[in-house]
């Protein structure tokens, strides 16, 4: 059975900051006036670089304690959107209020600060993308789904799409969404190394000789129409639909045939219920690189030529630069302003000669050279394309349209697993190790990926040498899960399968090493080879390239729990018929860099970490675990093994200071309550819990407290006991281990913790278990919970 998802999603608040304005109004008026925000860079040393331009924000930003500039930018735009929406005081249930933020480089300025200015402990928690959404959630009181999208330059656009999916799924009412990135040496040096920076201000669809980097943030309040109208909110527009896809082609360059982009654009149009001719304006990605512009010309002409419409296209990047993870959010805000004001901002920078050339390339599309124009618009589209082959297209409209999204009541099964861990690689190996009672020892352990894995999955040298360890682990675990599930889409069906990559720290080691290198050798000496691996979605991009899966492909990052949230996210993709099968993964890396950072934070045990006994340290570990999820019909079609049913999912946040977790107990309880409710069971029905404790007292205490309060003597199995704290990988492994328990692959008798009378370790027999719960945490107070049921 399928039901129509009629829930309208509307935009009720806007916020923006970039090189040409400190708020939406300024950014908008200056864009209409064609003001260029590009100048010689000041915050980054470009002395020996062939290009030295950027669109930096040169006005003072609000003072914020203990936050990276990316979060300062994000809080500024979010604050404006929040105020604009008049949400304050009108949130009845904060657990249905979420925050989703996109970013490409996150707190990379804090990595630079750490390396170049005394390695201060206070900079460590500002380094990753994870903290951004946490700061926004804690500031504005959001206690629902809190996460960040790490899909590089498409991240801001994907945040809008994900929020609408969750609202339509009925698990949330309102979100602050958007994206932010700050001007920094790492992306400047990286794009410089790739020769992708333009010597002159970027010139999209015109000279197309490179990008000019910018910085900023965009934010929107997106909520259900019901929620907005009940509180009498001003409504800007509807978000009708989005399309998300992966090129499965190249880690930095777009597919020359444009099929990835075109799938995203066509999917958005199809789901919106609109005709192509209803789209009056496309805010293009328009980076100004030859490859981007060529592919985008091709996609736009292929889709919109002869569609009977009157299309205008522009790229604001000629004014505000390429704001990376903020681009999709900033450009969504510009698109919404264009729609609601009936005015379109131009692409600036055309000379008289350029205009003659443009005529040829533009055909029947108006590419809006140099001057803004007034135009009555019914619907607009914002497109963003990114490293990793990530594509996103979002449609905003004045009217509600006829949204075609549906939801299936089919069960979602776990049909394949892939495990890379310090106990070795492969599911069979994991089962053998656990059944033999083996576990890691010491306070820092490492997974290894090598020749055996490359041979097993036919990974050629020309491919694997490009990947850092983070991506290698993800590719190997992903390939195993797909192989186990028997997922191999036939030609023409590649978009039916996708992946949600979860990670806490992402490629922090690679970013750190890149920054360390340019801090010593100069920004002119960045590594073109390593730069592509500094984006968080590189791993998902490589896996897409290797597998040919071209469907939904998103990387989420909010602490360790990202590896459990990915399961919930992927579950929604299948339920809402955007995919027949999805990989949900968790990947995090250990390295000398991570040992140094976690050690300095005081989170690493002295020797073997011991769980739940008031210790203050973890066994720092790494790995990658992938879980293949499929709809029942898809699983049965190719006879996949059914490990377990994914029956419920919940996510909640109880904001505490980022870097801490104490005091956020209510977040875990809310996440668990939501997951049980969705699964239609009560706490008493849970036979076993796959826990989150990692040996750090504040973390362990929250879990012990919850189990005592809600579950009394229900046994807790914890995978960190076997493989250490592999962060997101351990979170996904909780689900994998739970599935292997329900399926009977693991021996029935397992060691478990019982908290009824202190902390006891008991042998429990799991053979009769029907319902289990997996939980995970993220620093700052974010939790995910997943309920699995035994497959019949």
């Amino acid at each position: 059975m399928e039901r129509q998802l009629n829930t309208r999603c509307v935009v009720t608040g806007l916020g923006m900051v970039n090189a040409i304005g400190a708020n939406v109004e300024e950014c908008w008026e200056n864009a209409l006036a064609g003001k260029e925000g590009i100048d010689h860079v000041k915050s980054v040393n470009a002395d020996n670089c062939y290009a030295n331009l950027g669109a930096e924000i040169d006005f003072e930003l609000p003072k914020e304690e203990e936050k990276d500039r990316v979060s300062v930018l994000c809080l500024k735009a979010s604050g404006e959107a929040f105020a604009d929406s008049k949400l304050e005081g009108s949130i009845e249930d904060p657990t249905r209020f979420g925050v989703i933020m996109g970013s490409c480089v996150g707190g990379v300025l804090s990595i630079e600060e750490y390396i170049t200015n005394g390695e201060k402990t206070e900079d460590i928690n500002k380094m990753t993308i994870s903290s951004i959404a946490n700061h926004v959630a804690t500031r504005f009181g959001a206690k629902g789904v809190i996460t960040n999208v790490g899909n590089a330059c498409a991240a801001g656009a994907i945040s809008v799409a994900y929020a609408c999916e969750l609202i339509r799924a009925g698990v949330a009412d309102v979100f602050i969404v958007g994206g932010a990135d700050a001007f920094a040496s790492v992306p400047f040096s990286g794009f410089h190394a790739l020769h992708a920076l333009s010597e002159n201000p970027c010139s999209p669809f015109n000279h197309s000789n490179g990008i000019t980097l910018g910085e900023g943030a965009g934010a929107m309040v997106v909520e259900s129409y019901e929620h907005a109208s009940k509180r009498g909110a001003k409504i800007y527009c509807d978000v009708l639909a989005a399309g998300i896809s992966s090129d499965a082609y190249h880690i930095t360059a777009p597919r020359p045939d444009g099929i990835g982009q075109m799938y995203a654009i066509n999917r958005a149009i199809e789901m919106s219920g609109l005709q192509k001719s209803d789209i009056g304006y496309v805010n293009a990605h328009g980076t100004g690189t030859a490859k981007n512009d060529e592919t985008e010309f091709l996609s736009l002409h292929t889709i919109f030529d002869n569609a009977g419409g009157d299309l205008s296209v522009s790229s604001v990047k000629a004014m505000v630069g390429h704001c990376l993870g903020a681009a999709g959010a900033i450009e969504a805000v510009y698109s919404i302003k264009a729609l609601t004001e009936g005015k379109i901002p131009p692409t600036i920078g055309y000379s008289a000669e350029d205009l003659d050339v443009l005529k040829e390339k533009a055909g029947e599309i108006d590419f809006m050279p140099n001057t803004a124009r007034e135009k009555e618009l019914k619907a607009v589209m914002s497109n963003n394309f990114a490293f990793g082959g990530s594509n996103a297209s979002v449609i905003f409209a004045k009217d509600l349209g006829e949204v075609k999204e549906t939801e299936s009541d089919e069960e979602v099964y776990i049909t394949g697993l892939g495990i890379v861990s310090p106990l070795g690689n492969g599911v069979e190996n994991y089962v053998n190790q656990i059944n033999a009672g083996n576990k890691v020892s010491g306070n820092s352990v490492l997974a290894e990926v090598g020749k055996d894995d490359f041979g097993k999955f036919d990974i050629k040298m020309a491919f694997f040498r490009k990947l850092d360890k983070f991506s290698l682990m993800q590719v190997v675990s992903g390939l195993e899960a797909l192989k186990e599930a028997g997922i191999a889409p036939e030609e023409g069906k590649e978009e039916d399968y996708g992946m949600i990559i979860g990670t806490g720290d992402g490629p922090l080691t690679t970013v750190y090493e890149f920054e360390d290198h340019i801090a010593k050798e100069g920004n002119e000496n960045g590594s073109a080879f390593n730069f592509p691996n500094t984006v968080y979605n590189a791993a998902g991009g490589y896996l897409s390239i290797k597998t040919g899966l071209r469907g939904y492909n998103v990387t989420i990052t909010n602490g360790s729990q990202s590896g459990l949230q990915s399961v919930g996210y992927a579950f929604h993709e299948i339920k809402q018929n955007r995919a027949k099968g999805m990989l949900a993964t968790g990947t995090d890396e250990n390295s000398a860099v991570m040992q140094k950072l976690y050690g300095q934070l005081g989170l690493v045990a002295d020797g073997d970490a011991k769980l739940y006994v008031n210790q203050s340290g973890q066994t720092l570990s790494d790995g990658s675990v992938s879980v293949a999820l499929e709809s029942k019909s898809s699983a049965e079609k190719h006879g996949s093994k059914k490990y377990a049913v994914v029956a419920g999912y919940g996510m909640a946040h109880e904001g505490v200071k980022y870097g801490e977790i104490k005091g956020s107990d209510a977040g875990l309880k809310n996440a668990v309550t939501m997951a049980l409710s969705m699964a239609g069971i009560s706490a008493g029905d849970v036979d076993g819990i796959f826990g989150l404790g990692n040996g750090v007292k504040d973390v362990d205490d929250i879990e012990i407290g919850l189990v005592k309060e809600m579950f009394s003597a229900t046994p807790v199995i914890n995978v960190r006991e076997y493989i250490g704290e592999a962060r997101a990988a351990a979170a996904t492994l909780s689900v994998a281990h739970a599935a292997l328990t329900l399926s009977g692959d693991l021996a029935a008798d397992q060691d478990a913790f019982v908290f009824e009378n202190g902390v006891e370790v008991k042998k429990v027999n799991t053979s009769s278990w029907k319902n289990v719960l997996a939980v995970a945490q993220g620093t700052g107070g974010t939790y995910s919970a997943v309920v699995l049921k035994k497959a019949e």
């Binding site: 190394a193 790739l194 040298m461 020309a462 040498r465 490009k466 050798e521 073109a528 080879f529 592509p532």
Partner: protein, 83 residues
């Protein structure tokens, strides 16, 4: 190769192993670096240009691709253009 050429070739080989993660056992001085050989791409060539510039002070931006064919070709170009 003479002694100087051998030195340069060995350095280039080490750079390809360290910076482009090519397994050492796959490399000799003659194997084609691009195409059907090692399978390097345009991003790798940027890295090679950057490394040769900083190691030997030889600029190879815009240089014909025959000079990138294998380690021997790179070595020949570098030795000819070193100060």
């Amino acid at each position: 190769m003479n002694e100087k050429e051998l030195q340069v070739a060995e350095k280039i080989k080490g750079m390809l192993v360290d910076n482009l993660r090519i397994p050492e056992e796959e490399l000799d001085y003659e194997i084609a670096l691009f195409g059907d050989g090692i399978g390097l791409d345009s991003v790798d060539s940027l890295e090679i240009i950057s490394c040769i510039d900083s190691e030997f002070g030889v600029a190879m931006t815009g240089v014909g691709k025959e000079h990138f064919y294998n380690i021997t070709a790179l070595t020949k170009y570098v030795v000819e253009h070193m100060e």
